[in-house]
C-alpha cells in the first residue's frame, strides 16, 4: 500500500505523502440501505448480547426507562455492560461518566481512521454519521471503503441496523430476565467474540499485518491483565500499530 500524492481542494499538492483516497465519498440512501443489509447477520449477534445487557440491567435493578434510554441514547454495548454493574442509589454520576468516556475512547481512534474519506463531507452528515459508529459498523464501513464502497451513508445504515437490534433486544432481555436461567450455557456470550473474530478476518491485509497484530494481541492481553478497565484496547492497538509503522521508516 504505497503513499499517494493528492491535490487538496485548494489545488495544492501536500508537502508530505499522504495515504488518501483520490475520491471524496458520496452520501445517500443507496449507501444507507447497503449498509443496513450488510449488517443483518451481525445485528443478530448484537441482539444476543443486547439481551444479556437487558437481563443484567434488570438484575442490577435499573429502572426500565433508564436501561432502555441508555441503549437508545448512549448506544455503546461494551460500555453499557460495564457501567450497568456500577449502578447504585444514589447514582454515581461522575464515576459513570468517566467510565463511559474511557471505555469508549477507542472510538476516537476509530473515527480518526475514517477521516481520510470524510474530510470534505458536510459536518451535519459527518457528525450524524458518527452517532452510528460502533465496533461492528466501523469495521464493515472501513473494509468497504478500502474496497469499492463510495457511499459513506453505509455507516449510518449499518449502525442503524445494529441500533434497532440493540434497542429491541435490550427491551427483550429486560422483560425476559427472570425467564432465562442460564444464558451462558447457551454460548450466547461467545457471540460477542465470534463477531469480532469475523470482523478481524475482514480487516486482515496479508502478511504485512502479521507482526503488528501479534504485538497488539500480546500487549493487549498483558495490559488487560495488569491494568483495569479498557485501556488495553488503546495500549495494544497503539503498540501494534507503532511496530507496523516503524518498519516503513
Amino acid at each position: 500500500m504505497g503513499a499517494k500524492f493528492n491535490k487538496q481542494a485548494t489545488g495544492q499538492v501536500p508537502s508530505q505523502p499522504q495515504l488518501l483516497p483520490s475520491d471524496s465519498v458520496t452520501f445517500g440512501w443507496a449507501g444507507f440501505f447497503k449498509g443496513f443489509r450488510a449488517t443483518l447477520t451481525i445485528a443478530l449477534c448484537v441482539a444476543a448480547y443486547g439481551m444479556l445487557y437487558g437481563m443484567l440491567a434488570k438484575q442490577q435493578e435499573l429502572p426500565f426507562g433508564e436501561a432502555i434510554a441508555m441503549s437508545m441514547i448512549m448506544f455503546a454495548g461494551a460500555a453499557q455492560l460495564i457501567v450497568v454493574k456500577m449502578w447504585a442509589d444514589p447514582v454515581p454520576l461522575i464515576a459513570l461518566t468517566v467510565t463511559a468516556f474511557v471505555v469508549n475512547i477507542r472510538y476516537v481512534l476509530m473515527g480518526a481512521t475514517l477521516h481520510p474519506w470524510i474530510r470534505d463531507l458536510h459536518p451535519v452528515k459527518k457528525y450524524v454519521s458518527m452517532f452510528f459508529l460502533v465496533d461492528e459498523s466501523w469495521a464493515l464501513t472501513l473494509t468497504g471503503l478500502k474496497n469499492d464502497l463510495k457511499d459513506f451513508a453505509f455507516l449510518c445504515g449499518s449502525g442503524f441496523c445494529i441500533y434497532i437490534a440493540w434497542a429491541l433486544s435490550s427491551v427483550a432481555g429486560y422483560v425476559l430476565a427472570s425467564s432465562i436461567k442460564d444464558p451462558e450455557a447457551l454460548g450466547i456470550d461467545f457471540a460477542f467474540i465470534a463477531v469480532f473474530i469475523a470482523l478481524a478476518a475482514g480487516l486482515y491485509r496479508t502478511r504485512v499485518d502479521l507482526l503488528p497484530w501479534v504485538v497488539a494481541g500480546v500487549v493487549a492481553i498483558a495490559a488487560a491483565h495488569f491494568i483495569p478497565g479498557s485501556w488495553y484496547i488503546i495500549i495494544g492497538s497503539l503498540a501494534g500499530s507503532a511496530v507496523g509503522a516503524m518498519r516503513h521508516g
Partner: protein, 96 residues
C-alpha cells in the same frame, strides 16, 4: 428519580464526544507521516486487541471454539458462518 436519566445523558454526551473527536481533531491537525501510517494499522490492531483480551479471559477448555472460529473466519471471511460455528462449538463444549 430523574438523576438516572441525567446519568444516561452525561454518559451519552461523553460517548458521542469520543465518536466525534477523531474526525474533529484530524480536521484541524495535520499528522506527520509516521502517525499517518500508524493510523493505517489501527483498524486491525484495535480489532485484534479486542479479540485477544476477550479470548484470554475464556477458560482454556473453550479455546478450541476460538480456534475453530478463527479457522472459519479467516478461511471463509463469512461473518454468519463464523458466528454460527463458534457459538455451536462453545455450546458443545459447555454442555458435554
Amino acid at each position: 428519580m430523574a438523576e438516572g436519566y441525567i446519568a444516561v445523558l452525561c454518559m451519552a454526551a461523553a460517548t458521542f464526544t469520543t465518536r466525534a473527536a477523531g474526525p474533529w481533531l484530524l480536521q484541524r491537525i495535520t499528522l506527520p507521516r509516521y502517525l499517518n501510517t500508524v493510523l493505517e494499522y489501527l483498524p486491525g490492531t484495535i480489532m485484534i486487541s479486542l479479540v485477544a483480551a476477550q479470548v484470554s479471559k475464556l477458560p482454556t477448555q473453550e479455546w478450541p471454539a476460538v480456534a475453530v472460529a478463527l479457522l472459519v473466519g479467516f478461511r471463509t471471511k463469512n461473518v454468519f458462518l463464523t458466528i454460527l460455528v463458534g457459538v455451536l462449538a462453545v455450546y458443545v463444549i459447555r454442555n458435554i
